[in-house]
Amino acid sequence: MPGDQPSRRTFTLGVAAAATALAVPATTALAQDQTQAWELAVRKIVGEAKPSEGKFALELPEIAENGNTVPFTVSVESPMTEKDHVKAIHIIATANPQPGVATSRLTPLSGKAAVSSRMRLARTQDVIGIAELSDGRFLMAKRPVKVTIGGCGG
């Protein structure tokens, strides 16, 4: 009977939708709050894009004795021309109470895509760098840092 087809399909779709609806809260409940915070921060920057690796150096000490001041340098290999340059460099500390560290905005007049500063790290964690390119692509780099004394006060 042709009349059967649509209703059966609707039923299957309904089951599939219910399954995904159930699956989503289950996985998020397992993840820690802070994990979500940095993942959200990354998502906010890259959107649906998939960042690729390479041509991106994130220099950080392997072991930071004092989490209160951890020097870092980010540099991206780029010709820095009007057509092909790094628009922004984002730094994210995955286990800090607020994952965002800094967002630097560059122009072709920057000449080089290189920025250094110093950051606080609450504890041992991964630090992520995301470079936003003028053609809309993203590059990502990740570095683990061991922190001996956390740097977030109280």
Binding site: A93, Q98, S110, G111, V115, C152, G153, G154
Partner: protein
């Protein structure tokens, strides 16, 4: 905020990439710490830094509480013409500190 320190070459060749180092004293209070009375100390950080070269913005940064007290920032620019770089820092209290540096390009 006190007078910031800026380090850049006094002169450069046209097209040369120069490095600018900046340091300003600021507590960069995160807003996550508690005071002796157990109450949170309100956040007070420099959240914005910009640099213009003869009026054109060449670099800017949004800073978050993870940047250390007395923020130190290093960045680069292409020396295009002689003139002035104006660097400014803005904190949560709305104070803006602007400092200029001259460069000769030949």
């Amino acid at each position: 905020m006190t007078k910031p320190r800026i380090k850049l070459p006094e002169s450069a060749k046209v097209g040369e990439v120069i490095e600018i180092k900046t340091l300003i004293s600021h507590p960069m209070e995160t807003g996550f710490r508690t005071g002796p009375d157990g109450a949170l100390i309100p956040r007070d950080i420099i959240h914005r830094f910009t640099c213009t070269y003869n009026g054109e913005e060449i670099f800017s940064a949004d800073l978050f509480p993870a940047i250390t007290a007395n923020p130190f920032i290093t960045f680069t620019t292409v020396a295009t013409e002689s003139g002035e770089l104006a660097l400014s820092w803005t904190d949560d209290k709305g104070q803006t500190q602007t400092e200029t540096a001259k460069i000769t390009v030949e």
